[in-house]
Symmetry: C2
Subunit: 226 residues, 2 copies
């Protein structure tokens, strides 16, 4: 890629969605600056997979910013005394982390402004997902609006774009897209309580959605289960 490629900040978690999002951003000609947030998630193997992903896809840089959300509590994903629910949830499940995407996008926005990048990518998805409010298209739109009021670059007229290329796709469609882009799904982890090796429980919401996605897409599922 040449020097004229635009820069983008890409939020990466080490999961299937963010791996596909980063591969997609690259396919669109963006130079990717990857950002992971270490917020105290119990599936810390995510961050190891994020690091390996950035090395494989050759991101220009990969920053990990620590924000201890366990201090706030309120989620089974950050509170080890709570159990991760299995089976289909009614309403928004306990794995929801209050304001997580808003916090992550805000750090991404800050970095984008420093880099003079106008594009931020997030792998949010509102079809086959856990029902989190901060994954919906109307949320992404509202964030983009905020970003342009919040920043020096926005005020000076260089508009920010928040890209959520997966937001309207089914899990099976995301898997097909990632497959086409050459994403190595064996090196992604989606499970809410994955082992340090990345081995998945196979029972949580995230595992259930992922497993079904591979089956519907007709793509071989390389996930290692416990």
């Amino acid at each position: 890629m040449g020097l004229e490629c635009p820069k983008a900040v890409v939020l990466v978690s080490g999961g299937l969605d963010s791996a596909t999002t980063m591969a997609f951003a690259q396919s669109q000609g963006f130079l990717c600056y990857a950002l992971s947030i270490d917020y105290g998630q119990r599936h810390i193997s995510e961050l190891l997979f994020a690091k390996a992903l950035c090395a494989r896809l050759k991101s220009v840089e990969h920053k990990v910013i620590k924000i201890d959300l366990t201090q706030l509590g309120g989620s089974s994903l950050t509170d080890l005394s709570q159990k991760i629910p299995t089976g289909e949830a009614i309403g928004i499940p306990s794995t929801y982390v209050p304001a997580r995407n808003t916090i992550m996008l805000s750090v991404a926005l800050g970095w984008a402004e420093v880099l003079r990048a106008r594009d931020v990518f997030i792998g949010a998805n509102a079809v086959d997902y856990s029902g989190y409010p901060d994954c919906r298209p109307e949320y992404i739109k509202a964030y983009e609006n905020l970003a342009n009021l919040a920043t020096k670059s926005g005020v000076e007229g260089s508009a920010f774009r928040i890209h959520a290329p997966l937001v309207d796709l089914k899990k099976s469609e995301i898997i097909k897209l990632g497959h086409k882009l050459g994403v190595d799904f064996s090196q992604t982890v989606s499970c809410y309580q994955a082992e340090p090796s990345g081995a998945a429980c196979g029972a949580c919401d995230s595992c259930r959605i992922r497993k079904e996605g591979f089956s519907v897409a007709g793509v071989e599922d390389p996930t290692v289960y416990i």
Copy 2:
């Protein structure tokens, strides 16, 4: 205050504006949960003054969340190799920290959701200020809109309110309001490069605005200068 008082998360920095904001929130009957962000600001005495403020005003709780924004750079407030500008700035000055208020409000929003509080207070001000984009009323409004799309509580119909009670006030009016509410200004620090004791440089933008505010308000200025 009784058990029925509503809860509010209040962002406190240890400065004059956030001290007045917290005193104002209390005067409106809110139980205050104070939140400070340790983002790597060079004027770390802020956080000591914030702690003392919360003790004096008897906040229900005071959390300090660490987010290392020095990793992102781009501001003379977090980059010790840059000099703090003095005198009147043209445009948005180098003390602007990219996306700072957006990041701080996002953590406040997360905590508010956990507490089942619907109110968040921030001491942003768009009159006598440094021209930061994320201090303007239209920014606050856009954040409130986002907050209601971002959260479980918002989706379930219990609307969030982002209060910026100082947003339209002149510095002298803020000082008069704080004075009326009994704020001890000698225990607040505004200087961008305050000494650990809180002693102010008297030359930076923040010192200049504060000094003039006291003079116009006709309130005795208790600030200790270096």
